[in-house]
Amino acid sequence: MAELQSPIGSAYVTGDHGNAAGGVGVTIRERIGLSIIQITAWSDTIPEVLTAIGSATGLVLQNKPGLGRVAGEKSVFGFAPGRYFVVAATPELELRLRSVISADLATIIDLTHGRTVIRVSGPDAEWVLSKLFAIDFSEHAFPIAYGRATLHHDIHANIQHIDDETFDLYVFRTFARSFWKTLGHAAEEVGYKVE
């Protein structure tokens, strides 16, 4: 399979940036080699679709707003009623999901080439992301493994809370370089490392 080019391109500069005096506030990197599949259940097939996602990925969800699960490179989360992102580092993910989810259960859209996944991690992750998104990133409002659909500057994005100081951001691929630069500016004051 041809290797997917990163849309961040020359803006992706590894190393330390910004205010180094206080240490590294956040580490940012692009997660690559992922399949990103969106599944939309019909209003009366949500429990069956969740069971099917569980059998294809091993990640079983209850039908609860925003609920998600993370296991290594694999993750799944809801971001609207009956709508889920299913993500894994395997090119067969879409086929595997299609083999258990027929059109009378849900629609399946491969977003692998349409989204860029940026992982933001570190003690200042909540602080930096709060500059870009008008949602509450604290753990009581946004529990670990849960997903969100929200906006940055009127542009849609999805976010999953990975662990106590890590978030994955799903941004439009065509907007990823611009977003990456904005994220860098937001992180400058706390010092950041690009891996």
């Binding site: 209003s43 707003p65 925003g66 971001f79 609207a80 009623p81 709508r83 008008a134 949602i135 509450d136 409002a141 969100r148 659909a149 929200t150 906006l151 009127d154 849609h156």
Partner: protein, 91 residues
């Protein structure tokens, strides 16, 4: 103003798109009475106090909502999925 989406939780109003008065009743489709259609399309009562409105959570879960809001204080007393209300639920 913050609207508490039944799926996404409390979100800033910038994430929502106003879709108008939710109390209007569409006239009988076969009606050709221009006054009835004119009233449906253009007449708004602009009440003071409680009002029901459609909002789209365009910057979140993209669900259509029915919001009950006090027009004088902007206090929101209920938010529900429009489809639940269309199928008989109460806001």
């Amino acid at each position: 103003m913050i609207i508490k989406c039944p799926y996404c939780g409390p979100r800033d109003v910038i994430e929502f798109t106003y879709q108008g008065d939710a109390t209007r009743k569409r006239p009988e489709p076969l009606s050709n009475d221009p006054d009835v259609w004119n009233a449906y399309v253009y007449d708004r009562s602009n009440p003071s106090g409680l009002h029901r409105e459609f909002w789209l959570h365009s910057g979140g879960c993209r669900q259509h909502l029915v919001v009950t809001r006090d027009m004088t204080t902007h206090a929101i007393s209920s938010v529900a999925f429009a489809r639940d209300i269309a199928s008989g639920g109460q806001a």
